[in-house]
Protein backbone atom coordinates (compact mmCIF):
# COMPACT_ATOMS: atom_id res chain seq x y z
CA UNK A 1 0.00 0.00 0.00
CA UNK A 2 1.20 3.48 -0.82
CA UNK A 3 1.12 6.17 1.87
CA UNK A 4 -1.57 8.66 0.84
CA UNK A 5 -0.83 11.44 3.29
CA UNK A 6 2.15 11.89 5.54
CA UNK A 7 2.63 14.41 8.33
CA UNK A 8 6.24 15.19 7.35
CA UNK A 9 6.93 14.02 3.81
CA UNK A 10 5.52 15.54 0.67
CA UNK A 11 4.98 13.16 -2.20
CA UNK A 12 6.37 13.70 -5.65
CA UNK A 13 4.27 12.62 -8.60
CA UNK A 14 6.06 9.87 -10.51
CA UNK A 15 5.48 8.26 -13.86
CA UNK A 16 3.59 4.99 -13.83
CA UNK A 17 5.08 2.11 -15.81
CA UNK A 18 4.12 -1.51 -16.53
CA UNK A 19 6.27 -4.55 -15.89
CA UNK A 20 5.74 -8.28 -15.66
CA UNK A 21 6.44 -10.60 -12.76
CA UNK A 22 6.18 -14.33 -13.42
CA UNK A 23 4.30 -13.54 -16.63
CA UNK A 24 1.65 -11.34 -15.02
CA UNK A 25 1.49 -7.61 -15.69
CA UNK A 26 1.81 -5.14 -12.80
CA UNK A 27 2.11 -1.38 -12.41
CA UNK A 28 4.74 0.57 -10.52
CA UNK A 29 6.55 3.89 -10.54
CA UNK A 30 9.48 4.47 -12.84
CA UNK A 31 12.74 4.66 -10.92
CA UNK A 32 11.54 3.13 -7.68
CA UNK A 33 13.31 -0.06 -6.61
CA UNK A 34 11.87 -3.20 -8.20
CA UNK A 35 11.40 -4.68 -4.71
CA UNK A 36 9.31 -1.67 -3.67
CA UNK A 37 7.10 -1.95 -6.76
CA UNK A 38 6.59 -5.67 -6.10
CA UNK A 39 5.85 -5.05 -2.42
CA UNK A 40 3.13 -2.55 -3.26
CA UNK A 41 1.59 -5.22 -5.48
CA UNK A 42 1.56 -7.69 -2.59
CA UNK A 43 4.61 -9.68 -3.70
CA UNK A 44 6.87 -10.42 -0.74
CA UNK A 45 8.53 -13.67 -1.88
CA UNK A 46 11.25 -12.73 -4.37
CA UNK A 47 13.42 -15.81 -4.49
CA UNK A 48 13.44 -19.47 -3.50
CA UNK A 49 16.58 -21.05 -2.11
CA UNK A 50 15.04 -24.14 -0.53
CA UNK A 51 13.07 -21.59 1.48
CA UNK A 52 11.19 -18.46 0.41
CA UNK A 53 13.22 -15.26 0.63
CA UNK A 54 12.31 -11.56 0.51
CA UNK A 55 14.38 -8.43 0.91
CA UNK A 56 15.97 -7.63 4.26
CA UNK A 57 18.18 -4.52 4.16
CA UNK A 58 16.73 -2.61 1.17
CA UNK A 59 20.04 -0.82 0.53
CA UNK A 60 22.00 -3.39 -1.45
CA UNK A 61 23.97 -4.86 1.45
CA UNK A 62 22.64 -8.31 2.15
CA UNK A 63 21.80 -9.99 -1.19
CA UNK A 64 18.62 -11.53 0.20
CA UNK A 65 16.57 -10.13 -2.70
CA UNK A 66 18.35 -11.56 -5.78
CA UNK A 67 15.99 -11.98 -8.74
CA UNK A 68 16.10 -12.51 -12.48
CA UNK A 69 15.58 -9.22 -14.35
CA UNK A 70 15.35 -9.20 -18.16
CA UNK A 71 17.08 -12.59 -18.25
CA UNK A 72 19.95 -11.55 -15.95
CA UNK A 73 20.14 -13.44 -12.65
CA UNK A 74 21.37 -12.21 -9.25
CA UNK A 75 20.06 -8.67 -9.58
CA UNK A 76 19.66 -6.93 -6.21
CA UNK A 77 16.11 -5.72 -6.76
CA UNK A 78 16.12 -3.57 -3.62
CA UNK A 79 18.41 -1.09 -5.39
CA UNK A 80 17.70 -1.81 -9.08
CA UNK A 81 15.39 0.82 -10.52
CA UNK A 82 12.14 -0.13 -12.22
CA UNK A 83 11.81 0.61 -15.95
CA UNK A 84 8.95 0.27 -18.41
CA UNK A 85 8.53 -3.26 -19.73
CA UNK A 86 10.92 -5.03 -17.37
CA UNK A 87 10.54 -8.80 -17.23
CA UNK A 88 11.04 -9.93 -13.67
CA UNK A 89 11.17 -13.52 -12.51
CA UNK A 90 11.51 -15.24 -9.19
CA UNK A 91 14.99 -16.74 -8.87
CA UNK A 92 15.63 -20.35 -7.90
CA UNK A 93 18.80 -20.78 -5.88
CA UNK A 94 21.83 -19.25 -7.57
CA UNK A 95 19.94 -18.58 -10.78
CA UNK A 96 20.88 -19.44 -14.35
CA UNK A 97 23.38 -17.40 -16.34
CA UNK A 98 22.18 -16.08 -19.68
CA UNK A 99 23.01 -18.59 -22.42
CA UNK A 100 25.17 -20.70 -20.12
CA UNK A 101 24.73 -23.50 -17.67
CA UNK A 102 23.56 -23.11 -14.11
Amino acid sequence: MRIKQHPVLTSIVKKEVEFTFEGKTYKGYEGEPIAAALHVNGVRVLRHDHRPRGFFCAIGNCSSCLMEVDGEPNVRVCVEELREGMVIKMQEGKGKLKGGEA
Binding site: Q5, H6, P7, V8
Partner: protein
Protein backbone atom coordinates in the same frame (compact mmCIF):
# COMPACT_ATOMS: atom_id res chain seq x y z
CA UNK B 1 10.72 2.11 36.58
CA UNK B 2 10.95 5.00 34.09
CA UNK B 3 13.80 3.19 32.32
CA UNK B 4 11.52 0.21 31.76
CA UNK B 5 8.38 2.08 30.76
CA UNK B 6 9.34 5.44 29.30
CA UNK B 7 6.41 6.84 31.25
CA UNK B 8 7.16 9.61 33.74
CA UNK B 9 5.57 9.12 37.16
CA UNK B 10 3.41 11.76 38.79
CA UNK B 11 6.24 12.59 41.21
CA UNK B 12 8.68 13.18 38.38
CA UNK B 13 6.26 15.52 36.66
CA UNK B 14 5.34 17.41 39.84
CA UNK B 15 9.00 18.07 40.51
CA UNK B 16 9.19 19.89 37.19
CA UNK B 17 6.34 22.24 38.07
CA UNK B 18 7.27 25.84 38.87
CA UNK B 19 6.34 27.68 42.07
CA UNK B 20 2.74 28.31 43.09
CA UNK B 21 3.06 32.03 42.29
CA UNK B 22 4.15 31.35 38.73
CA UNK B 23 1.45 28.74 38.21
CA UNK B 24 -1.17 31.27 39.36
CA UNK B 25 0.26 34.00 37.17
CA UNK B 26 -0.10 32.59 33.67
CA UNK B 27 1.41 30.23 31.09
CA UNK B 28 4.66 28.37 31.72
CA UNK B 29 6.69 25.68 29.93
CA UNK B 30 7.23 22.26 31.41
CA UNK B 31 10.06 20.12 30.00
CA UNK B 32 9.49 16.41 30.47
CA UNK B 33 13.15 15.74 29.84
CA UNK B 34 14.55 13.48 32.55
CA UNK B 35 17.64 11.97 30.99
CA UNK B 36 20.99 13.53 30.21
CA UNK B 37 21.38 13.42 26.43
CA UNK B 38 23.55 15.61 24.20
CA UNK B 39 20.94 18.10 23.02
CA UNK B 40 20.25 21.82 23.48
CA UNK B 41 17.87 23.34 20.87
CA UNK B 42 15.38 24.31 23.62
CA UNK B 43 17.98 26.64 25.03
CA UNK B 44 19.17 28.11 21.73
CA UNK B 45 15.65 28.67 20.39
CA UNK B 46 14.29 30.47 23.45
CA UNK B 47 13.99 34.21 22.87
CA UNK B 48 12.89 35.04 26.42
CA UNK B 49 15.98 33.64 28.08
CA UNK B 50 13.77 31.23 30.00
CA UNK B 51 15.99 28.20 29.45
CA UNK B 52 19.19 28.46 31.41
CA UNK B 53 22.43 28.22 29.42
CA UNK B 54 23.94 24.75 29.31
CA UNK B 55 27.31 24.28 30.92
CA UNK B 56 27.55 20.88 29.26
CA UNK B 57 25.39 19.94 26.26
CA UNK B 58 24.31 16.81 28.17
CA UNK B 59 22.72 18.86 30.98
CA UNK B 60 19.04 18.47 31.68
CA UNK B 61 17.43 21.79 30.71
CA UNK B 62 16.27 24.05 33.51
CA UNK B 63 13.36 26.36 32.84
CA UNK B 64 13.31 29.74 34.48
CA UNK B 65 9.55 30.23 34.44
CA UNK B 66 9.87 33.84 35.61
CA UNK B 67 10.94 34.67 32.06
CA UNK B 68 8.75 32.17 30.19
CA UNK B 69 6.03 33.73 28.07
CA UNK B 70 4.46 30.45 26.95
CA UNK B 71 5.35 31.19 23.32
CA UNK B 72 5.86 27.45 22.63
CA UNK B 73 8.91 27.81 20.36
CA UNK B 74 10.48 25.02 22.42
CA UNK B 75 7.40 22.82 21.91
CA UNK B 76 8.00 22.58 18.18
CA UNK B 77 11.82 22.49 18.14
CA UNK B 78 12.41 19.80 20.81
CA UNK B 79 13.56 16.63 18.98
CA UNK B 80 12.22 14.59 21.90
CA UNK B 81 8.78 16.27 21.78
CA UNK B 82 9.20 16.69 25.52
CA UNK B 83 8.18 20.35 25.91
CA UNK B 84 4.67 21.46 26.77
CA UNK B 85 3.11 24.77 27.77
CA UNK B 86 0.55 24.85 30.58
CA UNK B 87 -1.76 27.68 31.57
CA UNK B 88 -3.65 26.97 34.77
CA UNK B 89 -5.24 30.43 34.73
CA UNK B 90 -7.25 29.69 31.57
CA UNK B 91 -10.57 29.31 33.43
CA UNK B 92 -11.96 28.23 36.79
CA UNK B 93 -12.37 24.60 35.81
CA UNK B 94 -10.10 24.16 32.81
CA UNK B 95 -6.40 24.25 32.08
CA UNK B 96 -4.88 25.11 28.73
CA UNK B 97 -2.17 22.86 27.26
CA UNK B 98 -0.02 23.42 24.17
CA UNK B 99 1.37 20.16 22.82
CA UNK B 100 3.41 19.03 19.80
CA UNK B 101 1.52 16.98 17.20
CA UNK B 102 3.10 15.29 14.15
CA UNK B 103 0.15 13.30 12.82
CA UNK B 104 -2.53 13.65 10.19
CA UNK B 105 -5.30 14.54 10.05
CA UNK B 106 -4.98 17.60 12.23
CA UNK B 107 -7.85 18.19 14.64
CA UNK B 108 -10.36 20.92 13.87
CA UNK B 109 -10.59 24.04 15.96
CA UNK B 110 -13.48 23.84 18.44
CA UNK B 111 -13.79 20.09 18.06
CA UNK B 112 -13.86 17.76 21.05
CA UNK B 113 -11.17 15.07 20.98
CA UNK B 114 -9.97 12.33 23.32
CA UNK B 115 -7.50 13.46 25.94
CA UNK B 116 -4.74 10.84 26.17
CA UNK B 117 -2.26 10.29 28.97
CA UNK B 118 1.42 9.32 28.76
CA UNK B 119 0.47 5.75 27.87
CA UNK B 120 -2.02 6.71 25.20
CA UNK B 121 -5.03 5.89 27.39
CA UNK B 122 -8.18 7.98 27.16
CA UNK B 123 -8.53 9.93 30.41
CA UNK B 124 -11.19 12.40 29.36
CA UNK B 125 -12.13 14.90 26.68
CA UNK B 126 -10.25 17.92 25.40
CA UNK B 127 -11.47 20.92 23.46
CA UNK B 128 -9.25 22.05 20.60
CA UNK B 129 -8.71 25.82 20.88
CA UNK B 130 -6.02 26.44 18.31
CA UNK B 131 -4.10 24.57 15.61
CA UNK B 132 -0.77 26.04 14.51
CA UNK B 133 0.68 24.38 11.44
CA UNK B 134 2.59 27.16 9.74
CA UNK B 135 5.63 26.38 7.66
CA UNK B 136 8.08 27.61 10.30
CA UNK B 137 6.98 24.81 12.61
CA UNK B 138 8.21 22.31 10.01
CA UNK B 139 5.44 19.76 10.58
CA UNK B 140 5.72 19.73 14.37
CA UNK B 141 2.35 21.38 14.75
CA UNK B 142 1.26 22.98 18.00
CA UNK B 143 -2.19 22.09 19.22
CA UNK B 144 -3.73 24.14 22.02
CA UNK B 145 -6.37 22.31 24.04
CA UNK B 146 -8.32 22.88 27.21
CA UNK B 147 -8.92 20.03 29.64
CA UNK B 148 -10.64 19.69 33.03
CA UNK B 149 -8.35 20.82 35.86
CA UNK B 150 -8.24 17.35 37.47
CA UNK B 151 -6.45 15.76 34.52
CA UNK B 152 -4.09 18.46 33.25
CA UNK B 153 -1.03 16.74 34.73
CA UNK B 154 -1.89 13.53 32.89
CA UNK B 155 -2.90 14.73 29.43
CA UNK B 156 -0.02 14.80 26.94
CA UNK B 157 -1.59 13.70 23.66
CA UNK B 158 -4.87 13.79 21.79
CA UNK B 159 -6.75 11.10 19.93
CA UNK B 160 -9.02 11.71 16.99
CA UNK B 161 -12.10 9.57 16.40
CA UNK B 162 -10.71 7.39 13.59
CA UNK B 163 -7.80 6.08 15.66
Amino acid sequence: MFKKTGVATKNMVEEKLPSKEIREKGPYAIFECFQEIPCNPCSTVCKSNAVKDFENINNIPEVDCENCTGCALCVSICPGLACFVIDETYSDNEVLIKLPYEFLPLPEVNSIVDALDREGRVVGKAKVLKVQDNKKLDHTNIITISVPKEIFLDVRNIGLEEK
